[in-house]
């Protein structure tokens, strides 16, 4: 993407005013996104992104500049901006020497660029038709097909020089069911870290049908009652509870500056001993997997919590300096405009000791959250929230009538101890995670779990 000699020169410039480390990040990314409305293709986004971000460290102080001007002069100006912000030119000359190497590549059978846009639109129309066919109460279907092909390069003053390529594909369908003025929605959005072969592994029609069925369930549902109750949260995207309640609070971004409720708790029991949780960026073909992190480190599997005990955090280079702990291949960013920070990849609660049927049977009264929406957290206090997309009341160990409009709130430390049953049907699901370094693809996951007590927002 950039010649080795120019990379070395840029690094030399970046450290010329006293920085102890510098890094060049370069990126080229193509996105094709097709949008369906009323069963018809409404728009196509065909976007090409290219840019460079240069960062220098002086201890734990960081200096970052990014540019879309990829001429040698533009890149030198970008490196000079970084150096200029740090101080005066040092009398000592630097001579960085890069040693290019390569990490194992992802296996992609068909790159999206090799597939016709018309074929991609057909996948979307098929999913739309599936949704409309479920019921004449389905009044609108909004669908999105997206593929992203990202190639990125990292070079730093430690001599590292590596390039990675990541492809991702996704089909996301939202169906609206209406009864008079009452409109309710349902969603299904499977994604992958592979190419066009993903759409042979799933049935687009079934994706549309699933979104439509969820909308119909919500249309027939009364509002969820409000209060504190026992909640069973289903597998797959249910894992958003761990992502919000605990995952963000284990990122060095907040732990490294003491702004996380999890800071200083390594080695202590923070969760029910049935809980073991992992961040694993190496899962083959997964939406949240990475060929290398955005600092050029190999991805890895990091056990965060083992049998309830906090074992490790997710740590990037800056976090490593702040915390005095090794990096964990967790540095990520949306694109070159963002300075990277510690983020999640594929994060999930492992299977536990409880049979799924026992979990529901154990509940005298509560909520069964079959499908979850997104959420957010304040790592400082651990206060989190997330929404329930499809929920049912449980009475006397049986799943009963559907309820709509529920949200769940609590604090991380409290909820981790209240997860008192962990089932055995671990699945992961795809989402986009937003934080200070932008929006990135991450997987969440878990088996069915039971939370003994949590506040349910409803009416």
């Amino acid at each position: 993407m950039i010649e080795k000699r120019l990379l070395e020169e840029l690094l030399d410039i970046a450290v010329s005013t006293g920085a102890d480390f510098a890094e060049v990040f370069a990126e080229r990314e193509h996105t094709e996104q097709i949008r369906l409305m009323e069963g018809k293709v409404e728009s196509v986004k065909d976007h090409f992104l290219a840019g460079v971000g240069i960062r220098a460290f002086c201890g734990t102080k960081t200096y970052y500049a990014s540019t879309a001007d990829l001429t040698p002069a533009g890149l030198r100006a970008c490196a000079a901006t970084v150096a200029g912000a740090l101080g005066e030119k040092s009398p000592f000359a630097h001579a960085v020497s890069l040693t290019p190497d390569a990490l194992p590549k992802d296996t992609v059978q068909t790159f999206p660029a090799d597939a016709e846009t018309a074929r991609k639109a057909e996948i979307l129309r098929e999913a739309g038709a599936g949704a409309y066919a479920v019921s004449d109460k389905i009044r609108q279907v909004v669908g999105t097909y997206v593929d992203v092909d990202r190639t990125f390069l990292v070079a730093n003053t430690a001599g590292l020089c590596r390039e990675g390529r990541k492809v991702r594909t996704r089909l996301a369908m939202q169906a609206m069911a209406a009864n008079g003025e009452d409109t309710q929605s349902g969603f299904c959005g499977p994604g992958s870290g592979v190419g066009m072969e993903f759409f042979e592994r799933i049935s687009p029609r079934a994706v549309g049908e699933k979104a439509a069925r969820e909308a119909l369930v919500n249309l027939s549902a009364a509002y969820c009652p409000a209060g504190t109750m026992t909640v069973a949260i289903e597998n797959g995207f249910g894992g958003v509870i761990f992502h919000e309640a605990c995952g963000h609070s284990l990122e060095a971004t907040s732990v490294g500056i003491g702004a996380s409720e999890m800071a200083g708790k390594q080695g202590t029991l923070i969760a029910n001993p049935k809980v073991t949780a992992v961040d694993d960026g190496t899962l083959p073909g997964a939406w949240g997997s990475i060929p290398m992190d955005d600092e050029g480190n190999a991805p890895r599997r990091t056990v965060l919590i083992e049998n309830g005990v906090l074992k490790n955090y997710m740590i990037d280079r800056l976090g490593s300096r702040r915390m005095g702990m090794p990096m964990t291949g967790s540095s990520r960013r949306q694109d070159y405009r963002y300075e990277p920070t510690s983020r999640m990849t594929n994060t999930f609660i492992e299977n536990g000791p409880d049979r799924n049927e026992d979990i529901i049977a154990s509940m005298e009264y509560g909520l069964y959250a079959k499908s979850m929406g997104g959420g957010s957290v304040d790592p400082l206090t651990g206060a989190f929230n997330f929404s329930v997309r499809e929920g049912y009341i449980v009475r006397n160990g049986k799943i009963c009538e559907p309820v709509r409009g529920a949200s769940l709130i609590g604090t991380g430390t409290e909820i981790l101890k209240n997860i008192d049953m962990v089932g055995q049907n671990l699945e992961t699901a795809e989402g986009m995670c937003g934080s200070s370094s932008g929006s990135i693809p991450t997987n969440v996951g878990q088996p069915l779990i039971r939370v003994a007590k949590i506040t349910v927002g409803g009416r």
Partner: protein, 443 residues
């Protein structure tokens, strides 16, 4: 590369390809920001960015493509890519490229140099000193920052329209993290004025400190006053309901409601591209139509929805000049500054009139907990319990649930002072708003 050159390259390539209807949209920007922590500079970042999008009519449909690489080859490549994209479109939306000669509001040109890194550092460090001077509870995790950006938006189309506008945005901010015993709390404040450092820090420290000791409250139905900031948060989350396109597509319950009462009589809402406090004003929309200030809701009556050219044609109305476009996104419909008109009562008078209820100062997770399609929301909240017209204690760890369409009708009062959020091409401004009877879940 200058916009004039980008336009020349793309117009020539489009004409070579036999296209007759097309436009070029461009954003070129630069920004600087710096933040400080522990009384030292913590991080600095600078960016220069540019992006170009090309749209054309081909085969009766609109196609578009965009790039952030501005080499001549990558720009010229946009033309065949846009034509290829048009071939898969099968919606019945007619391609329209604006051809009228509008009068555009003349705005003061931004000129001169942006503040440099030394200016930003000086402001951020002075605010650090204030943070620790103002409270013994301030912790090392507290940050202060200063940021400045300038963006030029330019549009040219095959009907002879060529427009360009430059806007500048600057602000200072403080995130105060306070700790008392084992309990920590934080609050964020900002100002567009670099001279307001002491006030911004004071606000962040005061709000963070007030949050310490917050507890839950009984589940029930409460009257609620949303602080100006939280009313803005709600407006942002539910702004898609005012899109004429969403109404046509069944994604907003405001379809067909123009001219009818949809809110309480004391509620008036404007869309204002020239809101005085917003430095990111916009004289033309993404299709080249002149923008204008208009009431969306006037004394409870829905006056208009928002339209671009294609949606207006479908709905049989005139465009409101609300076509919006990011470099990589297709044209959509968006407000400029959604501004709730202030009322006649002070916040204290509103509190006194409410008597008992909750004053909400934090709403979180609206991207998931609020649906613009259904209007339903169930949102993690924090604020103050109000008893006999006075804020008596901090409360947190509860949800507020309701429906935005019902909430508009339940507005019982609006305070006399509006506050604007972050400046931007989409911004919001609101006073405190008193609403009756919302469901609260907690203990």
């Amino acid at each position: 590369m200058e916009f004039a050159t980008i336009k020349d390259v793309l117009f020539a390539a489009a004409r070579r390809a036999g296209l007759t209807e097309f436009d070029v949209y461009c954003r070129i920007g630069k920004s600087l920001s710096l933040d400080a922590m522990k009384k030292e500079q913590n991080s600095f970042s600078a960016s220069t960015a540019a992006g170009v999008s090309f749209r054309c009519a081909a085969g009766g449909h609109i196609g578009s493509a965009s790039t952030e690489s501005l080499t001549k080859e990558d720009l010229e490549d946009l033309v065949p890519r846009a034509v290829a994209a048009s071939r898969v479109i099968d919606s019945d939306e007619t391609p329209i490229f604006y051809d009228k000669k509008d009068e555009y509001v003349s705005l003061q040109k931004e000129a001169g140099d942006l503040p440099d890194v030394a200016d930003l550092r000086r402001v951020a460090l002075a605010m650090q000193e204030e943070l620790f001077a103002q409270s013994a509870l301030t912790t090392d995790a507290s940050t202060t920052g200063a940021s400045v950006s300038r963006v030029t938006v330019a549009l040219a189309n095959s009907n002879g329209i060529t427009l360009s506008h430059t806007a500048e945005n600057r602000y200072i901010s403080a995130e105060a993290v306070v700790k008392k015993g084992n309990e920590a709390a934080s609050a964020f404040a900002f100002s567009p004025s670099f001279k307001e450092g002491k006030t911004v820090v004071g606000k962040a420290v005061r709000e963070a400190t007030e949050r310490l000791g917050a507890k839950g409250l009984p589940t029930g139905v409460y009257d609620v006053i949303f602080s100006p900031r939280e009313m803005r948060t709600l407006l942002s989350a539910f702004s898609p309901i005012f899109s004429g396109k969403n109404a046509l597509m069944g994604l907003s319950r405001l379809a067909g409601k123009e001219g009818t009462t949809i809110a309480s009589e004391c509620f008036t809402l404007f869309d204002d591209p020239f809101y005085p406090e917003n430095t990111m004003k916009m004289p033309f929309d993404a299709e080249g139509v002149a923008t204008r200030t208009k009431p969306l809701i006037e004394k409870g009556v829905l006056k208009t929805l928002l339209y671009d050219l294609a949606t207006a044609k479908k709905a049989g109305v005139a465009t409101t000049g609300n076509a919006s476009r990011g470099v990589s996104e297709p044209v959509s419909i968006s407000p400029y500054c959604l501004a709730v008109a202030p009322g006649n009562e002070s916040e204290e008078e509103l509190l006194a009139r409410m008597g008992n209820g909750i004053y909400i100062t934090e709403l979180k997770g609206l991207h998931a907990g609020a649906s613009a399609v259904t209007g339903d929301f169930s949102i993690e909240s924090a604020g103050f319990l109000v008893e006999n017209g006075k804020k008596t204690r901090a409360v947190k760890g509860f949800t507020v649930a309701g429906n935005f369409y019902d909430l508009l009708k339940s507005v019982a009062g609006v305070s006399d002072r509006a506050e604007m959020g972050f400046p931007g091409f989409f911004a919001t401004a609101a006073p405190a708003v008193f609403c009756k009877g919302l469901s609260v879940a907690c203990e």
